[in-house]
Amino acid sequence: MSNHSEAKKPLSDRRKFILNMARGVGYAAIGGMVWSAYLDEAKASPLILRPPAAIKENDFLKTCIKCGLCVEACPYDTLKLAKPGDHMPIGTPFFTPRDIPCYMCEDIPCVPVCPSGALDEPSVTVDGHLDINVADMGLAVIDENSCIAFWGIQCDACYRACPILGQAITVEYSKNERTGKHAFLKPVVHADACTGCGMCEKACVTEKPAIFILPREVAMGKAGSHYIKGWDKKDEARLKDAHAIRTTTNISRKKAVDKLNAGFEGLLDE
């Protein structure tokens, strides 16, 4: 009987508060998990091309406040803000070169207006002046299978369209063995000069462009510190990042010569 009346007693305020808090935490955990899972997918967009002077993608996603001032500053409507359904991190600026490439304005109007630092003005400033030629929006990549210049048909649309003509894209000549009397005029992209503006992609004559811009992270490999151009002083600077991995086993603890002189005792036991 007494048990029954106790069960009817209303919960104390403190208990109610604690239970409510616990319930809140429970809901928050479930909601937070779904939310985080969505964000993890939503921010993964490795093929997105950013405006000039954009900082590294991971930091860009943290820093950009999605105000669209760069988009408004762009005189060519190159830059867009990602909409729901674009499958890109929502609200962040990007461009699609095949539609509208970056025309590489000399005064780079999109960069100084950025209030958040997601577009980093110093990275496109040389000797106190803005210089779009050092921008790094991406890298042009050529699919040699679909590029008609590699078939032997004469086309230099991308070479002509390149705003850094003769540096970012050059044309290399080689003999066309198939005909025996013609030349291949093959476009070659130079990563150190290419800004990724996408004028070549826009100009490409094939149905789907044979030359296209990819973010550098995607388009480029990395030799690492095992391989160095020994003939290039600058390249040797990369060595300062190198670090050796040493493993010590029973065998390698002594010098090899000592180990051999000591006979092979114990070696076979291991």
């Binding site: 928050a28 969505y38 964000l39 993890d40 406040i65 988009v71 909409k83 209030p115 958040s116």
Partner: protein
Amino acid sequence: MSKIWNHYRYLILRRFTQIGILVLFFGANAWGWKILQGNLSTSEIFGIIPMSDPFAVMQMVATGVIVATDLLLGVAVVTLFYFLIGGRAFCSWVCPVNMVTDSANYLRRVFDIDRAQLQKQPISRNVRYWVLGLSLVISALMGIAAFEFISPISMLHRGIIFGIGFGWAAVLIIFVFDLLVLKNGWCGHICPLGGFYSILGKFSFIRVHHIEENCTLCMKCKVVCPEKQVLHMIGKESIPVLSGECTNCARCIEVCDDDALRFSIRDFIQNKKTGE
């Protein structure tokens, strides 16, 4: 005519500011107007005065990024305005989602959905503070501004200014949710930005003030109020609405036929009342 004006004057003014702000933003993107550039996340007035969404910047801070000075200045401008003057006015005078949820609310009254769902509201209005806290935690864990990535508010204002994509779907969901599922569901229960401004706007000067002597207990104010818990003093005492959850939308003032509700400056009112 003057009766209509009296009954809708603040509503008309609010729609004017809400739509006006969007028009200025839209003009900046479409035709290069320089009056108000950017969007509600960050903007510039005449290219000089910066304004930034303090909640968005709080999320950025949570991700661990160093926030640029321009943004901090913008945050200071916005924060000071709402903290000192406007209260939670962002929600009813600026935010475009307000038009969506207000119309859902209006249709609830027209179709008597309120009466069909008379039972106690199933979820607490404090959920927004949980969502607010959760936004910051997830921002820190995932390294991106968590709410900014799913915010229907941003989808709507960005959508109107820059092109909406599938953002209309999010807006539609909110409309249907508010209309059929939960009264004042988004703005009054869930939206963490509303929760943020509720906390920030708690101490602002502009307050709605109740004059109990004039009140005839018609309760029209409570019918239209989107946060009716803040009107707990109606017909009881002559005090200002002090809860930060009041959006200063002033619907209660204009529906009152008895002049029992007015805008006032907080301290001035208190002194007058006590005669000090």
